[in-house]
Amino acid sequence: MNLESKIEAILFFKGESVSRKKLSEILEVGQTEINEGIEKLKESLQNRGVALLINDNDITLGTAPELSKLIEDLQKEELNKDLSKASLEILSIVLYKNGVSRAEIDYIRGVNSSFTLRALSVRGLVEKTVDEKDNRRFIYKPSFELLSYMGVKSVEELPDWAEVNNSVNVAVKNMEVETKEEVN
């Protein structure tokens, strides 16, 4: 059996997200091979009932976005799809910036966003990790659940992603320069 099939089997069995690192440990192959295997699996799952979701270093299986209606009907519980204006703004920042601190969100929105951000964390739409550059603050990222709700298999599939992500990063970098000047 080839590597691609092994990755598929692990993801199916686990039924939850698995990191690239974990896969290379289980299968005892290097990071490059794993990445290639993931790419192949992603391609072979095109136009199938199951899709491969990639969120940076974690991957997972899910049902194809086109089958949303079918599975939704199957699931009896009502899915809550209502989001406030503030939530939508924050989600758009988290998705398009892909890794953003609360200070950056506040800066872009001009208001304190901690309350809404907490609500979104509780709903499982955003997840926070400690910033590698500064461990006193958190970085907010889209969760698999958020990607699932958006019907995209990775952030790059969002409309105008590359263009917006680029201009946002430039703008935020300018901001970093300014805040540093203020501190000095």
């Binding site: 039924g15 939508l88 703004e89 398009y96 001009g110 699932s148 958006m150």
Partner: protein, 249 residues
């Protein structure tokens, strides 16, 4: 002076950017110093009516208002020299507003797509239902009745104590209203005066507080000119401003 003022129907803007963007878009303008100067008056009118917000929320509105007043003053008086810090504030506001505009458009996108084509994750396996897996509590050797009490005491002692910080009242340096009253009063006294006498720093303005007093004083003077209560004239560029009480006809 703008004759057409816009009525804002949506009562709640969470922050200053939402309000400002709304005002600019209503006039079908792009974000730049000219459009911002045009909407300053509507913006100030709106924040005058703000109520029920926390001081932190109001302060974010006021902070933006101060930059808008700067833009407005510059548009009325092209000769007004701005410090590099002030110019930075203006550029910063424009850039942030543009960035915010991008995200408000994107959030519309998200609203349209959210929950439309959901990718469902596999359901969690119900381990208990398989019968042979049950969760149990396995205490290790360290956990005894005595040691648990010691741990509990340690945890209780380690609880942070509530610290009461002394409250400090924040003093207002001077408000525009006070300055307007002061100006009206002094003009009544001496029908004609100059701006330097009025702000009282004839020898030159150096400290930050003195600058603030002069700026607020200048804005107050502009407001009185607008209300038609006084006339102001400047004989030469950079010269002193002579303030006169408007003759009542």
């Amino acid at each position: 002076m703008e004759t057409d003022t816009y009525q804002i129907k949506t009562s709640g803007f969470e922050g200053p950017f939402g309000l400002l963007l709304n005002l600019v878009e209503k006039r079908k303008l792009h974000i730049n110093d000219v459009s911002l100067a045009q909407v300053t008056e509507d913006y100030l009118q709106y924040i005058n009516k703000l109520g029920g917000l926390s001081p932190a929320e109001i302060s974010s509105f006021v902070l933006v208002a101060s930059t808008l007043l700067l833009i407005k003053s510059k548009s009325l008086l092209p000769n007004l020299d701005l410090t590099s810090e002030e110019e930075g504030d203006i550029r910063d506001l424009e850039e942030r507003l543009r960035l915010y505009e991008i995200f408000t458009k994107l959030s519309g996108n998200i609203k349209n797509n959210f929950g439309k084509k959901i990718i469902f994750a596999p359901l969690e396996r119900k381990l208990r239902a398989w019968g042979h897996i049950t969760l149990i509590f396995l205490p290790d050797a360290q956990i005894t009745r005595e040691s648990m009490m010691t741990f509990a005491r340690g945890a209780l002692d380690g609880m942070p104590k509530k610290v009461f910080l002394p409250k400090v009242e924040v003093k207002t340096v001077i408000s525009i209203e006070e300055m307007i009253d002061k100006l009206t009063e002094r003009i009544k006294d001496s029908l004609k005066m100059n701006f330097k006498d009025f702000h009282g720093h004839n020898g030159g303005v150096t400290t930050r507080e003195e600058k603030v007093v002069v700026i607020v004083g200048f804005l107050a003077m502009l407001e009185l000119v607008r209300q038609g209560m006084i006339n102001a004239m400047q004989e030469y560029d950079g010269g002193d401003i002579i303030i006169e009480k408007q003759e009542v006809i």
